[in-house]
Symmetry: C2
Subunit: 208 residues, 2 copies
DNA sequence: CCTCTATTTACCCAAACGGGCTATTGAAAT
DNA sequence: ATTTCAATAGCCCGTTTGGGTAAATAGAGG
């Protein structure tokens, strides 16, 4: 029997996963947590072989949690199970030590076979996810090295003003350019930082 | 002749103030800066008696600038001249060492008479501003001590999610409450933090 | 018992934002 | 000479946000 633990804050999804595991022949659900903090505190009492980890958790997120878990229990196999299909989250998860990355819309039987893969030393991920991972190797080495994407001077300038809470039109006034140009720079910035809002961009920026 | 310096990022307003000073009998404008950084660098060459300081400056804001100026030139008289009528900014300004607090809508002749007051040892401020200052002495000491406003647990929880870039509706889903409730908590948070947008709130929050 | 606060929900509305698209200019690189 | 790219500007459109206003409930503290 392979010991599996869950970290998932949505009650319904968590209970579905528990059912799935308990109705299987090969797996046992030895723990189910709703947040990262509890997981980090309690996991050493349960010693699962595999963890199915949600990314979007209240407080410490699944990626950070993965990182912390791997430092204390490096043999633990962690599989991300999440709604995000975004390249950045995938890479950060894998870098944090996850061995697999599944989307939440994956049918139960595929999740189970993925868990089997994992226990056999595989790394399950959907074809779309795999493609994104593969593509990362096609990127010229240059870009991989400084994974901290390079913003142009103008973009940094705008991001800085953004982080001070200025509106588009205030930034435009400040820099004597049009509202639309600010808008355009912001799009490029969001694309480069892999985010979709002011807040996310500013948070990344402030963490330098 | 009383030597006055200006710190104001808006060209039009700054030039209006220069005109006002130059057309007066008692004052000379010895410097006019558009930002705090330049002011801090250059002010020791100009040695004004009084500074009229805007709060909303790009980069270092007027309050921080006031603080820094007072450490190196404690005899300098600084008068805030700003659009903000909010209690928090007023107190922080006065604590930083400002001796007066005027609103930008104050007519020129009143600004001049305020400058006269200042040079005579007075502290000019409008009746509304004065009221807010007075009221601060009526507040129980408790609240004055921890000026770092207290957010409720719920509010912190929501602010935390906000800082992770979640949308209102995502926060609502996360906490199993309605979109409107999230909206309302955010209003309270903004009010307590004296901000007017996600970005500003998150920046304050991340700076702990 | 009454008041105050925290938490919750709701409706309205204007401003701000995010993304899809296209396009011009000038500089730098190939 | 041609291509690439940063910077500029614009239009369209749906979504998100912020603020006004109102109100109900439950718990704490007088």
């Amino acid at each position: 029997m392979i010991r599996v633990a869950l970290v998932e804050d949505d009650d319904k999804i968590r209970n579905n996963l528990i059912d799935m595991l308990e109705n299987s022949h090969d797996f046992r659900c030895v723990a189910a947590y709703s947040n990262a903090e509890e997981t980090l505190r309690d996991i050493s009492n349960k010693l699962p072989d595999i963890i199915l980890m949600d990314i979007n958790l209240p407080g410490i997120d699944g990626i950070e949690c993965t990182q912390k878990l791997k430092t204390t229990m490096p043999e633990l196999l962690i599989v991300m199970l999440t709604v995000y299909e975004d390249a950045n989250k995938i890479f950060r998860s894998l870098q944090a030590g996850a061995v697999g990355y599944l989307l939440k819309l994956t049918p139960n039987h595929e999740i189970l076979s993925a868990l089997n893969d994992v226990s056999k030393g595989g790394s399950p991920m959907s074809a779309q996810i795999a493609r994104k991972v593969i593509q990362s190797f096609h990127q010229p080495q240059k870009e991989k090295e400084n994974s901290k994407v390079r913003l142009t001077n103008r973009e940094e300038e705008i991001l800085d003003l953004l982080s001070k809470g200025f509106l588009y039109k205030e930034i435009a006034a400040e820099l004597s350019i049009s509202h639309d140009t600010v808008h355009n720079h912001l799009r490029k910035i969001y694309e480069k930082l892999q985010v979709h809002s002011r807040t996310e961009a500013v948070v990344k920026y402030l963490k330098e």
